[in-house]
């Protein structure tokens, strides 16, 4: 480590961000670039990835579109990747359905993208030796994964609960390689993840009052925690679920 460089810097690191076309993923890509990283952006939508790319600082960033719901596309992505020093497994979505309306296809789709895809990606990154020694892997989980969830969110809660549990096992297995694995567990963040309107604006405004800091999070506030977990500043941190929730879970 260069003593003149802040341990929070990502200078010299190449970081892969999935779901980089919007929300927390886009903010993570932007903030990582500001912290000095070279960023590889992936998601399905090439145009929106291009928009994210134009928001980045610095040079050398890459856009590699990939549908993470497709194992062959994941393999293609991994083959095209440079050697990485960090990964943000962020791609994910939800569908609000009360328990008695949960349908098998929706549940499988959510598990496939939120849970199975990031595990398959990590597996291939290891197999193809694309993670440098000392790498850091960050998963976007959720406060829901830790039992603080809301009605109608069962499928998403299950998918993120699996992610938060998986982190411990991955951290254990990869510790010998010096690779750290952690998750961030955000409360509600203004990302448009609920923008289809199933939950009304009025309900969301009321829900914000449950947060001691009086508002939902901003995507960059999650990104900054990810930068900590990716950087050398967290070199003794692995297997954790870091809560970032404006104080919600105190209550």
């Amino acid at each position: 480590m260069d003593p003149m460089v802040s341990p929070f810097s990502l200078s010299g690191k190449t970081i892969l961000v999935t779901g980089a076309s919007s929300g927390i993923g886009r903010a993570a890509a932007v903030e990582c670039s500001k912290a000095g990283a070279r960023v590889v952006l992936t998601a399905r939508n090439r145009d929106r990835l291009q928009e994210s790319l134009e928001m980045l600082s610095g040079e050398g960033h890459l856009v590699l579109p990939c549908d993470l719901d497709n194992a062959e596309e994941i393999a293609g992505l991994v083959a095209d990747l440079p050697v990485l020093h960090g990964v943000i497994n962020n791609a994910g979505f939800t569908k609000i359905l009360p328990l008695q309306f949960i349908d098998e296809q929706s549940f499988k789709d959510i598990l496939s993208v939120n849970t199975v895809a990031p595990v398959l990606l990590l597996r291939l990154l290891l197999k193809k030796k694309k993670l440098a020694a000392g790498s850091s892997v960050v998963f976007t989980s959720s406060l829901a994964a830790l039992g603080r969830t809301t009605v109608g969110n069962g499928m998403y809660t299950a998918s993120k609960g699996a992610v938060s549990a998986f982190v411990a096992c991955a951290a254990l297995e990869l510790s010998k390689k010096g690779i750290r694995v952690n998750a961030v567990c955000p409360g509600m963040v203004d990302t448009g993840i609920l923008s289809n309107g199933t939950i009304s604006e009025e309900q969301l405004e009321k829900d914000k009052m449950n947060y001691p800091l009086g508002r939902y999070g901003k995507p960059e506030e999650i990104a900054w925690a990810m930068i900590y977990l990716l950087s050398d500043a967290s070199s003794w941190v692995t297997g954790t679920n870091l809560i970032i929730d404006g104080g919600y879970s105190i209550r």
Binding site: F101, V151, G152, N196, G197, S200, E202
Partner: protein, 76 residues
């Protein structure tokens, strides 16, 4: 689409409210059992039965069960 069927499907989302309390002119937001979870269940029922995707704001703007029925009819 049939109003009586709609009312029957609507009433099924409640457990403690007697189905006879659900009529076309029932102001459903005032029902004691009505909650955000029941609102989500009604939205999911309408998606499943009528293939119409309502928003939370549609639930809010409808006062009576028939108002909601008319919103669904207009989008079938």
């Amino acid at each position: 689409m049939d109003l009586n069927d709609f009312i029957k499907n609507f009433a099924e989302q409640f457990d403690e409210t007697d189905p006879s309390e659900i009529r076309p002119d029932t102001a459903f937001h005032d029902l004691e059992e009505y909650s955000s979870l029941i609102a989500l269940s009604i939205i999911a029922m309408i998606d499943e039965e009528y293939d119409v995707v309502l928003k939370g704001d549609d639930m809010r703007s409808a006062v009576t069960v028939e108002d909601l029925y008319n919103i669904v009819c207009s989008r079938v």
